[in-house]
Amino acid sequence: MKNKRLDLSYSQMKWETIFKQILKIMSVLILVLVAGILITLIVESMPSIKSLGIKFLWGKVWDPVQNIYGAYPFLVGTLLTSFIALIISIPFSYAISIYLGEYNPKGWLSNLLKNTIELIAAVPSIIYGFWGLFVLVPLIRTFEMKIGVAPYGIGVFTSSLVLAVMIIPYAASLGISLIRMVPSPLKEGAYALGATHFEVIRSVIMPYTRSGLFAGVLLSLGRALGETMAVTMLIGNTSAVANTIKDAIFGPGNTMASVIANEFTEADHTVYLSALIELGLVLFFVTVIINLIGKRIITKFTNY
């Protein structure tokens, strides 16, 4: 006699394998996609690599007329804007995480704030660009006149400020969820020992969530490195290298992503186009390297 229960479990088994395969294929597909992007970038940037060599990385001149291309000003611009933005954004994203994760985790105010912060991430970047150009730039110009630097208004500092606002939600919303997930027995134990709210945060919540919070920061850094539109509108787009630190921060600059966005459509000869693609390749590697360093730091700090 046929055992019906066994039949069913066969089909269940079959479905189990199929499901597992689907998951596997999906993950491998992503890997193939990333590898494909990398290979395309390398192949397409061959003409530029051949004609310019490794000098491309520290060349300071970007001259499409003479066919001389150097990525240095844009490399510096990308790193400078991203890290300044990160430094500005960290106090805000940590404060928001702690407030909404620990001090005020429930209720309408908490929900309203959390949704508002997530909304920041949903605003298209061109809106930030326009807001920066028409609202922030005049303010920065007045500020720059007061501290005695050239009052351009636009520049590295302005784009970093806007970038900081744009990346806050990435670190903050991850931080909120992480802090809310800290097991209450741990916190209650600390309170029972007479710890104050602040002491609980410092000695229980922070150590427990440190690597997660850092991962959030890393996520926002990745966003800052690749942001194009808002930065292009605010950075001043000059490939001249600044001479002083003051000029480098408050003066105009340029980033790799915005050079690509600016010049790609009209790159009218082979080496030029290829140099722009090589710029994309450099950006790809910069992102990978920064992520790897971040991963190392995370594993180093996660000791339990």
Partner: protein
């Protein structure tokens, strides 16, 4: 299950719409791509044309460089460009390409100097400003051409386009002609290594920075500057006259002896009435229209359209702030269109 079914439906629907789209694209739709500058004019002319004839034109304004690339790949019937093909591009295409002038446009020098309502500039001074050699509005060179104007003691903030564009090409082409130092140090291209200043993205980026920054100087398309009510300078032409950029003076700049292929830079024109920073915008087509599986009818359709553009279509220029073709430009354009062939035989 429901989800899967609706997904299937969606896929079928998309596939079906793709098939119908590509079917309709073949018969009576001409494809074009390129210059964003000429896009408003083209869309007006093409809309008018499709009302009278059973021809639709799909023009994508992706930029001159992109249009040339698409023409090279033979994915469009014609390209639109604000600059003639360069050596690299013609080599890639490999066969003769016709440049048909469609209209002309001017690039004007916009500025924002408090208290200054009219400004006159020579080409050499303009280049020196963009080289970073003249840095103050009240410097001797500018004062010399602006007698009676009270120029403030203010630093000049130079604004240029940050994106590669035909506007930059026309502007740098002019500076290259009038200032030897510019020619040797910077040169002409749709994107150059700017010695000084800030970059704004697009016409609106430059205009935004010029309007906001006291002491700024920039350059914009004439049409854009008119629509946005910006102040722009009179520029000295080859004959030594300071010319106010208008549609008339722009058209005048092309009313000179033109070469038969019309691949000519109009900047620094010989015409004493012409404004010196101007250019044609061209439609680009293959000289021999028989390539791939193109039919003779399609080639005829394309040439009829372009013929309409340079004749009846020209009345749309002025209301949209484009300068219509001058008499000599029209003559050359007609000749070029007539030189197009299909399998060696003339089409028009």
């Amino acid at each position: 299950m429901k989800v899967i079914k609706s997904l299937q439906l969606a896929v079928v629907a998309i596939a079906a719409s793709c098939i119908t789209l590509s079917a309709s694209a073949q018969e009576n739709t001409l494809l074009g791509a390129g210059s964003t500058f000429v896009y408003p004019l083209f869309s007006k002319i093409f809309a008018e044309y499709s009302q009278k004839h059973d021809v639709k034109v799909n023009y994508q304004s992706i930029g001159s460089g992109g249009g040339i690339l698409q023409l090279t790949n033979k994915t469009v019937d014609f390209g639109g460009s604000d600059a003639p093909l360069n050596a690299d591009q013609s080599k890639k295409i490999g066969v003769p390409v016709l440049h048909i002038p469609m209209a002309s446009g001017a690039v004007v020098v916009t500025y924002n100097v408090p208290g200054v309502g009219a400004l006159k500039l020579t080409g050499k001074d303009l280049a020196d400003i963009y080289l970073g050699k003249i840095t103050k509005w009240n410097s001797g060179e500018i004062a010399a051409t602006n007698k009676g104007v009270k120029l403030p003691d203010m630093p000049i903030v130079v604004i240029h386009r940050s994106d590669g564009s035909g506007t930059s090409f026309i502007f740098t082409d002019y500076l290259t002609k009038v200032n030897p130092e510019w020619a040797s140090k910077v040169g002409k291209a749709s994107a150059v290594n700017w010695p000084t200043g800030l970059g704004g993205k697009g016409n609106e980026g430059v205009a935004g920075l010029v309007k906001q920054t006291p002491g700024a100087i920039g350059y914009n398309e004439l049409a854009y500057a008119i629509q946005n009510k910006m102040e722009y300078a009179d520029v000295q032409n080859k004959a030594g006259k300071f010319i106010k950029p208008t549609l008339e003076t722009t058209t005048a700049s092309s009313n000179v002896e033109l070469p038969a292929n019309a691949e000519v830079s109009l900047t620094n024109t010989d015409n004493p009435k012409g404004y010196p920073i101007t250019s044609f915008t061209w439609a680009l087509i293959y000289k021999d229209q028989k390539y791939g599986d193109r039919s003779a009818a399609r080639a005829k359709m394309l040439l009829d359209l372009l013929w309409y553009n340079i004749h009846d279509g020209q009345k749309n220029c002025a209301p949209l702030n484009y300068a219509p073709l001058s008499k000599s430009a029209l003559k050359v354009a007609e000749k070029i269109l007539k030189s197009a062939t299909y399998d060696g035989k003339a089409i028009l």
